[in-house]
């Protein structure tokens, strides 16, 4: 569901100034927060990745986790949050992203099964996992999560099923098995009824006291932002993949298009949560505490994972359908995936972010408690034909000036691209303000409100009669319908021209840390793990099992040095630093791009006048994406430098930090001397650093030998094109070659294992170059069996790459080199000369295939 790489891609496209406003320093906030956050302490060493929470009548908390456990927590409501005692009630489930307690009965939703957990002998350990239903399809795709688990008055369960994501076009969610992309109703007897279609990544459901069901989706294809939908039987929420299992599509044998919108009537989302407030929404729960949790009874709280917050939504029925407002509620909590009210009226939040990314802590449980002081905040809003009624929790002494109120309209694109920016902005003039006699109801009038638009209203610098500043000054309201006038048939998510088809965004890139993340680096003291800041001491990191980051967690870590040499490159990587953290990316082992927990330095170049943006770096514990280009220095034939090394367009989360910089020589700490080609490294000894998803796209000056050979069209060794089309799975091509040769072409692997290029002489084994992009292959593209293995997934399936192979005789033996996208990944000298001219065999793997463009060959 919540793919960080995608999110960061979108982050670059969206307004970052707004996004950054979401991250206030938590210290600054705690001071005047009416809601405190208290963290429970799971048993030492245990990782509690929360997927569901519920309370027994006696106040004991049960927590289901993505590790397939259910924890039983006694004293969860005790005054001291550390007094809570944890034990494992159930082990061995297949995830648990939904939990429901009905009286004493405990239900859990696993990835493939809705189950009741039964303790027969009263020892608080589950003895029996009773299957209620398994009646939905799964293919084994990682993204096929199942979420739940509210029930209605009749005891029916409601659950939602993700669509799958397949490489290479991972951005198109696909429903390959029945009811992926649906919300299902499951009766207590296990009868499954497909309830509503068109969902994408529906991480959370919730039911209000009126018995109406709601769910949140996650922004992505067909979901411009994270929406909150009211779910009624037969609804279609907009993601077309699920339609495959409807009558019309099945009768016609049709599979929904991934790029063309379906012609089915879409349900409008009740609330569209703006991107800066929610990037990965979880479940939602209504405040039925009768005032124990503050003044917002009857409204719903929504878990938000990436930003680590809880947000608040208040809906009203307009023309018979829910729509309404969304407010910020509490920031700086952790990767909140689940929210649940405890019997004492506190709001429990459950964390997880493994593989999804989100604010630390990434696992565990915390409770939000109200301090009993009513904050000065907007309580609720009500849409009028010409404005809004805004109910405040405290009285104003006078109506504010119209100039202090900002109002703007916008909408979203409904398309297959990942998310949508806010579109078609339009400022609205606030023409009048009016205050009720008790000072608590502020009416604002503005022209131009219309259906099928979202509205942002900001009350700037508003203070209560007693001088308190407004806690949250902005709300967004989704207008599906105006109170009066003709009913709108438009939606806030507007049908627009679809974007141009995407080519694989991996094209030209080398994913140096995919697959075996450390395989392409020389290092000691670095590990692949999940990581977050130590709650008690943010200058420290806490690591745990996972694949989220490369961390120099060892005692005396080395630098993380690339095994390959690079010249001009475009680059992209993620990083996160602890408080006071310090590292750097040294291009060519010489030119440092600083990574520092210091706003003024981060993403700057040593010796180059400082970063332009002082807000792009968002602080310790936050993951950032750095993008940019680096150009190696140039030399003439005599080795004299003719041009300095250069940095260009260095950006932090899409915010430009350095336009261009030209170090005249190695920066501080860099290796002396300058060269044309060299490895890069991340500094390991200066401080702790977490690095992720390191990608390099070689530009221009590829390895000189390759460049020279490719431009060499003269002589007897002329290139000839030998192959220029696809090769189906299981097929092979044979080419006659001399002992010394070069082969060069563009290759794309379809998703399927084990293609290969063999070159062998009569009766000899020869060599086997592996062409395999599948995730679980031990030898991946670029490996030479028996000589050199590559375990990193440099080039995913579905992506064109340049393959260059050269085999020449040398004094020491047969020298073979392999370049991928112009970078040399293999150089072997074989004294035995296992290949002595004869034949090349290009074998396409059985379940996949190869696409080949302009495969050229020449003898040497």
């Amino acid at each position: 569901m919540l793919c960080t790489t995608l999110i960061s891609a979108l982050a670059a496209a969206l307004s970052n100034s707004i996004a950054n406003a979401a991250f206030l320093s938590s210290a600054q906030q705690q001071a005047n927060e009416p809601y405190s956050v208290e963290y429970l302490t799971p048993p030492a060493g245990e990782v509690v990745e929360v997927g569901g929470m519920g309370f027994l009548p006696n106040g004991d908390l049960l927590v289901s986790t993505r590790r397939g456990r259910v924890w039983w927590v006694t004293d969860a409501l005790a005054g001291d949050p550390n007094a809570a005692k944890w034990h494992i009630f159930c082990e061995g489930l297949h995830e648990g992203l939904g939990l429901k307690i009905d009286g004493e009965r405990i239900y859990v939703l696993q990835r493939g099964e809705l189950s009741e957990l039964i303790d027969h002998d009263g020892d608080r350990v589950c003895d029996e996992v009773r299957t209620i239903s398994q009646d939905w399809g799964m293919t084994g795709n990682y993204h096929e999560f199942a979420f739940g688990l509210p029930t209605d008055a009749a005891g029916n369960f409601y659950m939602s099923l993700n669509v799958g994501f397949w490489s290479p076009e991972w951005w198109h969610g696909i429903s390959k098995a029945p009811y992926r992309g649906w919300i299902l109703q499951v009766s207590p007897q296990g009868v499954v009824t497909p309830w509503a279609a068109g969902v994408r990544s529906p991480c959370g459901l919730g039911m209000n006291s009126a018995g109406d069901l709601f769910y949140t989706d996650n922004q992505g294809d067909w979901m411009g932002v994270c929406p909150i939908f009211h779910v009624e039987k037969g609804d279609f929420m907009g993601h077309p993949a699920s339609l495959r299992w409807t009558e019309g599509y099945r009768q016609a044998g049709r599979i929904p298009s991934s790029t063309t919108p379906a012609t089915v009537q879409r349900k409008p989302a009740a609330v569209m949560v703006p991107y800066e407030w929610s990037r990965s929404a979880g479940n939602l729960v209504e405040d039925q505490t009768g005032g124990k949790f503050g003044p917002f009874g009857g409204q719903m709280y929504v878990a938000e994972l990436t930003n680590g917050t809880v947000i608040r939504t208040q809906m009203e029925k307009v023309r018979g359908q829910y729509q309404g407002a969304v407010f910020k509620f509490r920031d700086g909590i952790g990767s909140v995936c689940r929210v649940a009210f405890a019997p004492d009226g506190s709001l429990f939040t459950g964390f997880t972010n493994r593989g999804w990314g989100g604010l630390a802590p990434g696992h565990g449980v915390a409770r939000l408690k109200w301090n009993g002081q009513t904050p000065f905040d907007m309580h609720s809003v009500h849409l009028l034909q010409d404005g809004f009624e805004i109910n405040l929790t405290e009285a104003l002494s006078a109506a504010p000036d119209v100039a202090s109120i900002e109002a703007e309209l916008y909408d979203y694109n409904y398309w297959w691209d990942y998310g949508s920016p806010q579109m078609n902005f339009e400022s609205l003039a606030v023409t009048a303000t009016q205050l009720s006699a008790d000072g608590k109801k502020l009416t604002i009038k503005c022209d131009g409100l219309q259906a099928a638009k979202c509205v942002r209203i900001t009350l700037k610098e508003l203070k209560s009669g007693s001088g308190a500043p407004l806690l949250h000054d902005t709300f967004h309201y989704t207008i599906n319908q105006m109170p009066e006038g003709p009913l709108s048939t438009e939606l806030v998510s507007r049908m627009v021209e679809p974007p141009e088809a995407k080519v694989s965004d991996s094209e030209g890139w080398l994913h140096l840390s995919w697959g075996e993340a450390l395989d392409r680096f020389e290092s000691t003291g670095w590990e692949l793990c999940d990581v977050e800041l130590d709650k008690a001491d943010p200058s420290k990191l806490v690591t745990r099992l996972g694949m989220g980051a490369l961390v120099n967690s060892g005692e005396t870590p080395s630098n993380l040095v690339s095994k390959q040499e690079f010249g001009d490159v475009e680059f992209r990587f993620n990083f996160m630093l602890p408080k006071g953290g310090d590292s750097g990316l040294y291009f060519m082992e010489r030119y440092e791009l600083q990574l520092s927990d210091n706003v003024g330095d981060c993403a700057g170049i040593v010796g180059v006048k400082g970063p332009r943006s002082r807000t792009a770096y968002r602080g310790p514990g936050q993951w950032h994406t750095v993008t940019g280009r680096f150009f190696a220095p140039r030399f003439d034939a005599n080795g004299n430098k003719t041009r300095n090394a250069m940095f260009e367009q260095i950006a932090l989360d899409g915010v430009m930090v350095i336009g261009a910089a030209e170090p005249t020589g190695p920066t501080g700490g860099g290796k002396p001397g300058e060269v044309a080609l060299a490895p890069f490294y991340f500094q390991g000894h200066a401080g702790k650093a977490c690095i992720g998803d390191i990608r390099i796209k070689p530009l221009g000056n590829v390895d000189e030998m390759v460049k020279a050979s490719l431009s060499d069209s003269a002589s007897a060794f002329a290139w000839r094109t030998v192959f220029d089309h696809g090769l189906d799975g299981g097929k092979a091509v044979l080419l006659d070659v001399p002992a010394e040769f070069e082969l060069s072409g563009r290759v794309q692997l379809t998703d399927g294992p084990a293609s290969e290029l063999l070159f062998r002489s009569n009766g000899s084994d020869g060599y086997r170059l592996v062409l395999d992009g599948t995730a679980n292959a031990p030898l991946k593209t670029g490996s030479m069996e028996g000589y050199a293995g590559i375990a990193a997934e440099l080039i995913p399936a579905g992506t064109w790459f340049d393959l260059h192979l050269r085999c020449v005789e040398n004094v020491g033996g047969r020298v073979i080199s392999v370049h991928l996208n112009g970078v040399r990944f293999l150089l072997i000298a074989d004294k035995e000369r296992k290949f002595n001219g004869n034949q090349i065999v290009l074998n396409a793997g059985h379940e996949g295939g190869l696409k080949i463009k302009e495969m050229r060959l020449r003898g040497l």
Binding site: Q134, D135, R544
Partner: protein
Amino acid sequence: MPLLHLTQILCSALAALACTPEPQEPAARSGKEIYLGTCAVCHGDTGDGNGLVKFDRPARSFQQGGFSFGNTPEALFRTVSSGIGGTPMPGFAAVLNEKERRLVVEYVIALGPEQPPAAGNASILNVGSKPVVVRGQLAPLKSGASELPRGLMIGTTDGLSWQYQADDVRLLAVRQGAFLDRKDWGGRGGGPLQPLGKLMHLLQDGEPGPSFMLQASLDTGAAKKTGSAKDTGADNGANSAIQARRALYSKLTSTLVTGQRAEVRYALMKDAVFTKQAALMDSSVAPQSTQPGTAVANVREWGEAFSHPSAAGFRRHFEVEGVAGKRPDLLIALDIPKELNGPSELVSNRGQTWVWFPWQGRAIAYGFQIEGIPFAMMLEGEDSRLLLPAGNGVLKVHMTTLLLPDAKAETWSKLQEEIY
């Protein structure tokens, strides 16, 4: 003296020890002393596996650090206490008190190489004092087969693990040794579980057929099907008998741990049941509620190691109960290798009835004990399955798979005598 007999004698001696009613008050012996006195005769004074006594299945070398059933103190304690079924390793629970067993475990671990740090094994599940049931995705057992999105792994305290498909329940494989690495705890989730046990037995190449069938001649719905098959001229008499059988879908209803037993419970469903994509695609109706279907019978199934000094093995137990009383049309179809041409040897002894299928030329034998039906009705072979009428009230079937030390006929006949 043949090797086998030596094993027997030794083990009888140890077993006799094991029968001593009260363990002696603990003399203060060190782990080393206990080891030298109790273990070294087979495992060697230095733990190298070269003791005075030699076996077909050599005693474990502790110096190499490998342990059949996991290398945690808890796992070793279990092995020392209970022994390893099917091997000469007896249990010492009655010979050594708990403290002594823990001491010897500590000593044995110390004989081995240094343990890797535990952090890397954080996702490994071990079986402690109770069976562990785990649901999750499983990689196919046969290369090229599809993944099992719904899998079930059961680790029993006797050191075996049982690998199931959890939709249309079928046992796929039995393993021996360490239990499971929850690889799905890493990354973004959704990966397969990694069973750690050594493959002991694979059922039908890891792709067994349905375990239960209905005899269609006694079932009107299926009888119609047979009729239509004939209309299309598809068969002769023999074939129609086969076609007249309808596979039943084994729908998981529960997994239950009770004492040392981990039961898999499922209902045998006559009607089409959802979960297979194909079944849904056949239908031309709109998405509608799935029907719970009609259960013919309910089954409880569990497995355990079968202990015999000279052969490793395991037993599967089935209890089948017709939903509406007797179902004479119900057949249980137990997988046996295609190469086996039934019967067999019928042995009745000490009030127990066994039917054995020794596999000529292979070191394996299958034994059946059936309670609840007269023997005369018992056996009918079909393809690679043994069909038993199963619907006669509560039927209890115990199926033993014995992996023999060798494929010689005499080994088998000796063993057979020993078993009764």
